[in-house]
């Protein structure tokens, strides 16, 4: 029993989230007349979870101990790395709740608003466990919890044909990839006799595994995770789903679900395939599978494909979808160096990505709310009629390109520092050339907002106080972290601990 108490102590944020979910569903059932306060329950639940997370930030340990293997190993690892990603998810979720307040699409469905937030909380719970899971079964379960909620959310508004098409596509692609992943998991279990990542790590260190089967299993699992982080060639669902889903959910998928996917990928590889971390912070991989080459190839493919496809997009959501694919490619670069420096770069990049990507989606949503435009060609002249949103959008887009003095530059800088430190110059050059390509499509939006003269009078988009504050909350750190990034890096620096065997 002591074990159980200890475990529950460690997963307080998850418990808070579950309670919030139950309260929300119950309230939704009882008060089916007036549902105005439902979002506030979700918001309260998220805030309390966030407080528990912060209180837990210095705690680390295993919950639900399974085996005793040179120390007690459990199902759930609570460490600073996990807490970092959970905080990112919580911050994104809170912002998305505020996004939903100002989203016309979401406000139209007041009668089903309870389900919307219930699904959102369910998805967050899935992501939380995914970030911490160190057992293949738990990984699969939490992945499914997260995915199933997101399938429904993607098609939630049902107002447009695109919407249900998006949800269906998402579901079909998702089930295939999770099927593949499950197959990979079963192979890995067959090879090593365990589902616990630490035990698998021990088994792989003794060189008697069938290399071919192992490679096959790894690639299948990578396909499942690659789907979540929308890495090429598993990205095909992304543009359609991002275009079809309500903007709030698109923004959410592009940040939170990607964060959870990345946390899973990093933890999976670090826990399963790294034998030790040397004094210079480099991760020594067990020589059973060439993760480095596979990930380099995937990341270059992902960013190049994302960037070059984004050039041709006219719909802002599709464009941002491809841009988020490209950013997944950049983020993977932080992993391929297999060092603490690379991990630091990923963490720094993710915070910045959260700010700038959500910001760009928010401005796109506010414009679509007012004018109904999602086509970039309809943005002509908007910068002049709506100066505040125009300037904010310029800042977010410039940050997405990665130009100083915005935060996006710092994110890229840390990635390239990690790459140059690992002497992977060719990869760095390819990534940098990619960011030149990305300049073209991001600036295209700016071009339409400012340079191209509108054919008819452009409708001015005047955000109300709530929206203005929301945009400002995202703009200020995007600029501030560009010139003073010390607090950000310090936070990331203290969040590098991934619980290992030693």
């Amino acid at each position: 029993m002591a074990n159980l108490y200890q475990s529950l102590e460690l997963i307080k944020p998850e418990i808070a989230l579950s309670i919030a979910l139950i309260v929300l569903v119950t309230c939704d059932l009882i008060f089916h007349k007036d549902k105005k306060f439902i979002p506030y329950i979700a918001l309260g639940g998220l805030l309390i979870t966030g407080i528990f997370l912060l209180a837990n930030s210095s705690v680390s340990g295993f919950a639900f101990i399974q085996t005793d293997l040179m120390g007690k190993i459990g199902l759930v690892a609570v460490d600073s790395f996990g807490t970092f990603f959970k905080l990112l998810v919580i911050i994104t979720s809170i912002l998305i709740v505020f996004f939903s307040f100002s989203s016309e699409e979401i406000q139209k469905i007041t009668d089903r608003i309870g389900e919307y937030y219930a699904l959102l909380l369910g998805m967050i719970l899935g992501m939380f466990f995914l970030i911490s899971a160190t057992d293949l079964i738990l990984i699969y379960l939490s992945l499914e919890l997260m995915s199933l909620s997101s399938y429904v959310l993607a098609g939630f508004t049902k107002l447009r044909d695109r919407n249900s098409e998006a949800a269906l596509k998402y579901l079909i692609y998702g089930s295939v990839s999770s099927g593949l992943m499950l197959f990979g998991i079963s192979l890995l279990y067959g090879l090593t006799g365990s589902t616990n990542l630490y035990v698998i790590n021990m088994m792989l260190q003794s060189p008697n595994a069938n290399m071919f089967t192992l490679a096959f299993a790894n690639i299948l699992i990578l396909a499942g995770i690659g789907y979540k982080i929308s890495a090429a060639p598993f990205h095909f669902w992304t543009p359609d789903v991002y275009e079809g889903a309500p903007i709030t959910i698109t923004a959410y998928l592009s940040v939170a679900s990607k964060a959870a996917g990345f946390a899973l990928l990093i933890r999976f590889i670090k826990t399963t395939f790294v034998s030790f971390v040397d004094s210079t912070g480099n991760w020594q991989l067990i020589q059973v599978f060439d993760w480095k080459s596979v990930l380099i190839a995937l990341s270059i493919l992902t960013m190049t494909l994302g960037n070059f496809s984004a050039i041709w997009q006219n719909n802002i959501k599709r464009m941002l979808a491809f841009s988020s694919i490209a950013h997944a490619g950049y983020l993977m670069l932080g992993l391929v160096v297999f060092s603490n420096g690379g991990l630091l770069a990923i963490l720094v990049y993710f915070v910045i990505y959260l700010l700038m990507n959500l910001g760009a989606f928010l401005v796109a949503m506010l414009i679509a709310n007012k004018t109904g435009f999602e086509d970039i060609n309809d943005y002509n002249g908007l910068g002049h009629t709506s100066p505040f949103l125009g300037i904010a959008m310029v800042i977010f887009l410039v940050s997405l390109v990665g130009l100083p003095p915005t935060a996006g530059f710092i994110g890229k800088l840390y990635l390239f520092i990690a790459l140059v430190d690992a002497k992977m110059l060719a990869v760095a050059v390819i990534a940098l050339l990619n960011s030149v390509v990305s300049l073209y499509y991001y600036v295209r939006v700016i071009k339409h907002m400012y340079l191209t003269a509108p054919e008819k009078e452009t409708q001015a988009v005047k955000p109300n106080l709530h929206d203005t504050i929301l945009v400002t909350v995202l703009v200020i750190p995007t600029l501030l972290f560009g010139i003073y990034f010390q607090p950000l890096v310090n936070w990331a620096k203290n969040s590098l601990e991934i619980l290992g065997l030693m």
């Binding site: 310029v394 003095p405 140059v420 002497k423 940098l432 300049l439 073209y440 700016i446 890096v489 620096k493």
Partner: protein, 525 residues
């Protein structure tokens, strides 16, 4: 020396002005214009204060204690990364004889360009806000002594420039603006990579004796600060210094613009509004050559020595090619743009000689090209404002119609040709003397003299087409230059003629530093 942080003030004053402008109501464009004028005016005053307090005997270049007006504070300090060590970035400003003329030039050209912007009527607030942001970026590039800080200033200029060309430019502005943006970003990614490589190859000793990696560009110049295994460290036998040199050079060469990276320039110039052309030619192009002198030369002296013929060769190609293409132009502004390419070639040729005379000539040529070409673009602006065309064959006989204007054009054209008595003559002469005196660049210098001939050819031919012959009746009502235009043309003419007869005014500022730089490159530290 001076009781206040003068370099920070001269750099960030425009940003302050930009913030103030954002609070001025849209209905008061006059206030916006006068505020910008005041800000750039104060900048000129500050630049003069700098010059008055400048010690001509201190060299700078690689030695922190002989830089002047230094401001150095810790900006970013991240400790406790066991595997990366402390990450520390300084806010580090200072000037020496190489940057002082450039600071002066930036202040003057910004002020003139601000007067020239008076005719802007479309979203005045936005224009001047961006203009001032650009001003900060330019000033910052010349005063930064930390590579990281330098890079930030270098990149800050891109976006304002994109908008200034793209919103207030001519018919093909969108194309020209994005071309400028992509070209320069392409160049700066190489600078970024070299910056990171140098970071991992250079250490700096802190007050407590510990060594940390650094972005300090003065530390990068001293081989004693090299790490043992940095990829750009001179101590590492497998270093990539040669590739890094080429990458860095290419990054700066795009800005100069050096053949074959020059194709963005004519587009940008033709489409940009007059004041932006003035800034572009007057200051922005200088950043390329300044960057080479500030980074390539002292950080990689051994490679510079090996490549001096190549640098001179590219200089020669720029001179001849630019002049030949200029000869073929039918558009006045495009002609000036290509003459710019040609004139920047002299800078490269002078730099390639690796002699004090040659590099003095090169930096002086940077300054002179800044003032002369600024004036030439203003001259184009004057007739374009009146006639709304720049076709060289659309005019004729304007000499009698606009006598005062013709007088100023004569000054500017003769200065551009390099007539004795004008500043351009001195700098080009120095460049040729420098390049001729060294065996490596002698042949290049001889061929390059052809450029002077071609220059005289296209300039005089242009003069003839516009000012002589029968007056085109269409322009019978054209008025001569007004007071505002005089207020820009007179100071520039005065500078050009004054430096033509008294070149020491600028040469003395740079002489000590250039000597030190040449000594560093030729003999090592």
């Amino acid at each position: 020396m001076i009781g206040f942080p003068i370099l920070s003030l001269i750099t960030f004053l425009p940003v302050l002005g930009m913030i103030l402008i954002l609070f001025i109501p849209k209905e008061q464009p006059k206030t916006v214009k006068y505020l910008s004028l005041a800000i750039t005016g104060v900048q000129v005053v500050l630049a003069i204060i700098l010059l008055a307090n400048y010690n001509y005997n201190l060299a700078g270049v690689f030695e922190e204690k002989s830089f002047q007006f230094i401001e150095k504070f810790t900006w970013i300090n991240i400790t406790g990364l066991t595997w990366l060590g402390t990450v520390k970035i300084d806010y580090f400003l200072g000037i020496d004889g190489i940057s002082m003329p450039m600071v002066l030039l930036t202040a003057i050209i910004s002020f003139i360009a601000c007067i020239s912007s008076w005719t802007i009527t479309k979203s005045v607030k936005g224009y001047f806000a961006l203009f001032l942001l650009l001003d900060t970026g330019m000033m910052g590039v010349f005063v930064a002594l930390d590579f990281f800080l330098f890079y930030i200033f270098w990149e800050i200029m891109l976006l304002p420039m994109y908008f200034l060309i793209g919103i207030w430019g001519g018919p093909r502005k969108e194309y020209a603006a994005i071309k400028f943006f992509i070209y320069t970003l392409f160049g700066s990614i190489f600078i970024l990579l070299v910056m990171i490589g140098l970071y991992f190859s250079t250490t700096e000793t802190l007050a407590d004796g510990s060594k940390i990696l650094t972005f300090n560009m003065l530390a990068m110049m001293n081989p004693a600060n090299s790490t043992a295994d940095g990829i750009l460290s001179i101590l590492n036998p497998n270093n990539l210094r040669f590739i890094a040199y080429i990458a860095l050079f290419a990054g700066f060469a795009i800005k100069i613009p050096m053949f074959p990276f020059h194709t963005w320039l004519p587009d940008a110039h033709v489409e940009a509004p007059t004041p932006i052309s003035v800034i572009l030619a007057g200051v922005l192009l200088k950043m390329g050559t300044y960057g080479i002198l500030r980074f390539n030369y002292p950080i990689f002296p051994e490679i510079t020595r090996d490549l001096m013929w190549w640098i001179g060769m590219f200089g020669m190609v720029n001179i001849i090619y630019g002049a030949l293409v200029a000869l073929a132009q039918k558009d006045f502004k495009k002609l000036i743009a290509y003459s710019s390419v040609s004139h920047m070639g002299y800078v490269l040729l002078g730099m390639a000689s690796l002699t004090t005379t040659g590099i003095n000539g090169a930096i002086f040529q940077m300054f002179n090209h800044g003032t002369i070409t600024a004036m030439l673009f203003l001259i184009v602006g004057v007739i374009y404002d009146r006639a709304h065309t720049r076709g060289l064959y659309d005019f004729g006989g304007l000499a009698s119609q606009m006598p005062v204007y013709t007088g100023f054009v004569t000054v500017a054209f003769f200065a551009a040709i390099g007539l004795p008595g004008m500043s351009g003559f001195i700098s080009e002469a120095l460049v040729f003397v420098g390049a001729f005196g060294v065996e490596t660049t002698r042949v290049l210098a001889i061929i390059s003299t052809l450029g002077i001939l071609l220059g005289a050819g296209y300039m005089l031919w242009t003069f003839q087409r516009i000012f002589f012959g029968p007056l085109n009746e269409k322009w019978a009502a054209m008025t001569d230059v007004d007071k505002r235009e005089l207020s820009m043309l007179i100071p520039l003419s005065v500078i050009i003629i004054f430096l033509g007869v008294y070149p020491s005014g600028v040469l003395d500022i740079m002489n000590t530093s250039v000597n030190t730089l040449v000594n560093l490159v030729v003999n090592g530290l």
